[in-house]
Structure formats: structure tokens, C-alpha cells
Symmetry: C2
Subunit: 238 residues, 2 copies
Amino acid sequence: METPAAAALPKYYVLKEQILTLIEDAAPGTLIPTERALAEQYGTSRTTVRQAIGELVSEGRLDRTQGRGTYVAPPKVTHVRQLTSFTDDAASQGLTAAARIVDVSVLPADPATARRLAVEPGTEIHRVERIRLVDGEPLAHEVAFLAGPLPDLARTVAERGSLYAALREDYEIRISEVEDTVETKLAGPAEVQLLDVEMGAPMLLVHRLGFTPDGQPVEWTESVFRGDRFRFVARMHV
Amino acid sequence: METPAAAALPKYYVLKEQILTLIEDAAPGTLIPTERALAEQYGTSRTTVRQAIGELVSEGRLDRTQGRGTYVAPPKVTHVRQLTSFTDDAASQGLTAAARIVDVSVLPADPATARRLAVEPGTEIHRVERIRLVDGEPLAHEVAFLAGPLPDLARTVAERGSLYAALREDYEIRISEVEDTVETKLAGPAEVQLLDVEMGAPMLLVHRLGFTPDGQPVEWTESVFRGDRFRFVARMHV
DNA sequence: CACGAAAATTGGTCTAGGCCAAAATGATGG
DNA sequence: CCATCATTTTGGCCTAGACCAATTTTCGTG
């Protein structure tokens, strides 16, 4: 006989906790039983099994691929300190961070971006779209908008491997203050394609406005991070 | 005839976007058609409708209550700057922030908390559990652990209405540096009960370690914020 | 008119199963 | 021994409908 409280919990949630106990001591990569097997084993429907597994995938505890199966995910170690440069910072944790450049272009500022960068709408600004990788895995999709003349930006970013390094070394632009906003977002088709996550997976949506020492905004960035692999760290004076 | 790309999208996602266009100009509180009506109207099953609506609820675009219906949610205005005090800060945006104290107690530090606060395990520390409210709505569940002698903490926190104010005014403890980590988490039974969210809704899990000017850690806080109502803002020097 | 009980409405959970697509597996021919 | 193709396995998406619980609405009664 169950306690009333336990009985009031949704069945999929009870199953989710049971699967958790199944995998808590398992090595990453270990296959768990198939959805059909779990449904039979726990006397439930496959729909309910999928709901339980779906949440564990969202939380980064399981990974699954069609045709292969569902297996224990590696732990959420990607602990990136978002202070200055993503690249510099990851190295200090023994992680190999990289960025794959998707697009570097110049375009006229739309009204919203122009307002954020404190330029006239229509002013030519730079757009840098990248995929951030940690240990080879895609972790974030990032689109940065930059004000000011930045000749040959595509080349310098590619060479430096880091946008902040290029700004500092090649253009003598130092970003000394940033304002980050963090909120949740669910993965849509774009994130599914670019970041190898499932539809509807929780993501961290981060907006950053970067200022030079004289208070001029020069960088406006929108980033979408995988919620199942990423932990955002900010240390600051109050 | 549809484009192949559009046809490849899951049906529930297409429906989700259609519902979005339905509600984008609607006032908060406006009821949308019932799930059964939408299923018939769009020639789909109720399961698919529920998946589409479920994501919109997770994103804070819709609210729903059993027996009542599904309606347009108020916008995600709760823009809380997490710099110093939640209380002080919300006021600057014209929001009425409050905290409902659930529990204030003294207990011996467990090993993990002791390590974070740099005290010996077993040392008596304070525990302050609160529900943060903005404009009357529960927004976050927060458990703070504090080191040091803090006589009559329950009373002072209740009187000041703000933990940080009590520390500053009554105990002359100033927190001058904080380290926040932010990650995603899915709502479980605790959050459903305390914060009035749905099971599995995306939440922001925030850990904060607060230091005094001489570098002593004195505050360790774990907070769970509603992902559909909250936006975390951090402005910092680099 | 006010109140409370009954009925209808609406979201909440779950089942059983079908069809598809990707990956792994195994058979087959060079 | 290896490459190629068909088969099987596994997750991905969807349907149709049952039953429950919370809420609202309706309606009868005092």
C-alpha cells in the first residue's frame, strides 16, 4: 500500500525517479533498456516512458539517438566563467574551447540594434555568428553585433580564434563592463540543427551588452546555450 | 503545396506557431479555444494540441487552469537586477517585491555547506527559507545558509523585510562580492506546490556565494526561479 | 433572491497502438 | 576480407479515446 502523497505524483514522475536510481551508478555511455522494454517492465505505456525519459534528457542525465538507443550522459561539467573571454576562461579549467565561425558580415543596423549600440539606424555594423564548442561538442549559438570601424574583421577573428582577443589586440578596443541578462528558452528548429539538442529542450538565452572604459556600448550579443551541458558563472563586486 | 522544410517540422510545432499568431495581439487574460476545439479546428489530436500549448505555457506565453481554460499570460516583465538586494532592486522598477518567510532556524552545518562557508562541519549556522513574491506572485524559492553569530535573526529579517538589509543594519555584515552560478532545472513537486508552476516547467537554478570585504564567505544561497516570469540581470566590471 | 446541489465544461493523466526514419545488424556477392 | 544492400531494432511523431479532478454553470429549493 502506497502513501497518499506518493500516489498523488504523476506516474511518469515516479518512473523518472526509478530510472534515475537505475543510472546513478552507471558509467556515461551505458545503454538503458529500450522504451518498449521499460513500458512492459514497469507496466505502463510507451508514452509515459517517453515523458519520463524526455525530462531526464532535458536535464542532461540521458542522451538518446534514433536507432541507437538511450544511454547515460556525461556529467554537466562545462562550468564556464563568463567574465571576459569564453576562450581564455575555458582553458583555465582544462577544457578545449573553440568557436566555429558561421558568418562574418557587415550590414546596416536595424533600429533595435542601433539603439543598443548607440548609433544611428542604418549605420554599418559588423555581425559575427559563431558556434561555440567545448571539447568538440556544440555548446552555444552566438550572434554578436559590433559598432565601429573594424577593418578585415573576418580575418582577424579567424586568426585570433577569439572575438575579444581580436578586439583587444587588433583594434585596441577593450571591453571593461558588461551587462548580461539570462532567461530560459525552449529549443526550436534552429537550435536542434545547430546545437544537436531535442525540440523543446530548455536552453539559456543570454544577452550581453559590452561597454568600453569610457562607457560606450560596442558589443551586443545574443547567445543560446544548451541548458543540459552548461552552467553560467558570474563573479562580481556589489 | 508546402515547402519540404515546413513539412519536416513536427506538427505540434507548426500548431504552436499558429497559436502564437492567434494570441500575439490579445490582451492578457483572454481565453483561447479549448483543447478539444483546437484539435478539431486544426484537424489534429488533443495530445498534439496539448504539446503545443504546453511549450507556450513553459515559455510564459499562456497560463492554464483545470476547469477554467487556457488564457494569454501577462508579459515577462519581472526584470530583476540581481546585484545587491532583490528587495531594493525591484522597487527601482516600480515592482512591489516581498518575501514570505517559510522558516528561520539554526542547525549544524553539513559537510558541503561547511566547506562553502569555510567553517568546521557541525558548526551552528543559520538557515533562512523564503518565497520571493513580485506583485503578489510567487517568483522564487530560496534557501540561504549564513555563518557567524546572528542573534535574533528571525526577528530582524522579519522586521527589515530583507535579508541583506538585516545583515547590513543589524549585524554590520556587508556583502561586497558574490559568485553566482545559473543553470536550468525542471520543476518537480516542490516547485509545483511552492511556486504554482507546472510539472516539468523550465526553472532557473541559481547558487550564490556571498563574501565580506575581507574575503570571508558568509552566505550560501540556493534559489529556484520561475523560468517563465523571470529574467536575471548582472552588470559587472571585467 | 440566496444558497447549495447537480450537471456540464475544461484541463490532467494515461493507455494502446500505428506509421515513419535513423542506426545497427546480418546476409550476400565481389 | 570487404563493400553493399536488405532486415531488424530503436527512437520520433501522432491518433483516438478513456477516466479523473477542478471549476464554472445551471437549476431547484428554501
